[in-house]
Symmetry: C2
Subunit: 334 residues, 2 copies
């Protein structure tokens, strides 16, 4: 079997698939297709113009806009390709505007599921995500399954686990995903990871996932996981992430990264069926598997960041180093 060897930069571009604005033609062609999903910018702002203006918080495929049975809480304008939620005139309470928008989105997704208008909503995942990019940081929630439909910026946690030999050499804990997972079955992954729901904080999320996916003691993980960086990217979903009905969905995401050094006698064990097995690999073997494309796309990027931070990938041995470091930390403007 011949395996195609991919450079680090090629791996990053497979995850961060939206072109950059300086690639004018392709960027414009792609982004001009999408509808802007917009919420009001800032409820508490002193300036009325700001208060009443909208800010883009997601990108929706035209086919989704066409199929969605929009409720009257949404305003769809085909001439400028926007989908907006106006505020009702009388709203009171601390997070009243956010609560109103949360409800509007929930009703919309509920209706779409009832009518089976959007095939990808058949794979319903109810966990509430928080919509990012709002200036006033008010809380607006969306069910996980709906985040890809509305193309909002979501957030997750990736934990990179490793241990050290007696001689200081590093070995990495690499899980192989269960062959029955909905997305990227059988591929290699970050040690532990998961999406951040609206009801938890980052450390709570990673400690819970470490327990559920790898049987690691939650309290110990809380204490020892070390925040180190983020990765961020705009993915255009292809078939590997789901099925043909998801192709083209835009998913901007940030993953918060934590390093976790495990003692030699603490061995991660699959628990909830998400992971088939945990492998203990040298950096060299892991890097080889990366180049062979054996990793889930965003987990490949998380490990690349790990190898940059730990000096394995550097300016002396990687011709794309400057572009690589910048590209895995893409600025998402909402």
């Amino acid at each position: 079997m011949s395996t195609q060897i991919k450079t680090y930069l090629e791996l990053v571009k497979e995850c961060d698939t939206l072109p950059y604005p300086d690639e004018v033609e392709e960027y414009t062609r792609l982004t001009s297709e999408y509808y802007h999903f917009r919420l009001k910018r800032s409820w508490g702002h002193a300036d009325e113009d700001v208060r009443s203006s909208y800010t883009t918080v997601g990108y929706i495929l035209p086919s989704v806009v066409a199929s969605m049975p929009w409720t009257d809480k949404f305003h769809v304008d085909h001439s400028v390709q926007t989908v907006s939620i106006p505020w009702p005139t009388a709203t009171t309470g601390d997070n009243a505007h956010g609560d109103y928008e949360t409800l509007a989105i929930a009703e919309q997704l509920e209706l779409a599921r009832e009518k089976d208008s959007i095939p990808i909503l058949r794979k319903w995942r109810a966990e509430p995500y928080r919509i990012l990019g709002l200036e006033d940081r008010r809380e607006v929630r969306i069910a996980r399954a709906g985040s890809a439909v509305f193309g909002v910026h979501t957030m997750g946690v990736h934990v990179l686990g490793f241990c050290r030999d007696n001689d200081g050499g590093m070995k990495l804990w690499i899980p192989r995903r269960s062959p029955t997972k909905q997305t990227f079955p059988g591929m290699l992954d970050n040690t532990v990871g998961g999406g951040l729901t609206a009801d938890e904080d980052v450390v709570g999320c990673l400690a819970r996932e470490a327990q559920e996916e790898a049987s690691l003691p939650e309290a110990w993980v809380r204490e020892h996981a070390k925040p180190v960086s983020t990765i961020s990217y705009f993915s255009i979903r292809d078939e590997r992430a789901g099925g043909p009905e998801e192709v083209g969905l835009l998913q901007p995401a940030t993953q918060v990264l934590y390093d976790l050094e495990l003692p030699a006698d603490m061995v991660p064990q699959p628990l909830d069926g998400e992971v088939a097995e945990f492998l203990l690999w040298t950096p060299e073997k892991t890097i080889q598997a990366l180049h062979e494309g054996q990793f889930k796309l965003n987990s490949a990027v998380a490990w690349i960041d790990f190898f940059i931070r730990h000096g394995y990938i550097n300016a002396q041995n990687e011709p794309d180093y400057l572009e690589l470091v910048a590209r895995i930390h893409r600025r998402i403007w909402f």
Copy 2:
């Protein structure tokens, strides 16, 4: 004396001053002023259209374009605001095209100095820098003093030095710049840093600078400096970086970062007069000085990256964390 406290994001924006393309109005207003400095894209490319096309490698201020006594090796087009170096028809040899461009730039800067056309060239710094962003990676050189005039993407090295107490607590080696330095006199800085010249590699550069600026043994530094990341940004120069004649110059730059853990008994000492004194500070004291704006702008960003990698700044304690990490790794598209 009251001190204005700056957030990390405000500090980063003081260094990375060019707006992003999504801030459409300001970005367009600013970038449309500059002339594109262009070189041929790729000499070895099979496609004639690619070979004969140009790529932007810098941005030049209109006032500089107007004052420069352009030689006939340069083609200035005011209608589309470009300054280009066409290739002569007959050129042979491995780096012949690069050598031709290097010579053209050197002659141009020489002429401008003779005629005293560009005031900032009075502060002449001759070290050759390499122009980044060329697809074929051919070598084109420009004198350091010219890099800001042509607005090319330059590269440097920042070393973040620290030591550990017996109880594992971290202390950072912070130099105060000499009060007689041309730029940012008396301000706090990275432990060791410098621009990368065309005749050295990154590790050679940092080891040399560590010797010259901090009296650290070159061979020991070579062995122990650990590559960890980069920072990258588009600076629009203001008066702090030089004088009034430099205001508005665009300087895209990438600094390659290295962590350097020093043994407790290895104490950096000023040597070449660039540094007034080395301070040994706790992270808390350093963070306080950062917020007070005591650091040279790009060194503040390098320390912010250090504090992110070492967990001091994280998603749980910093509301701007996502934006911050992305923003200090700006993608420079040439």
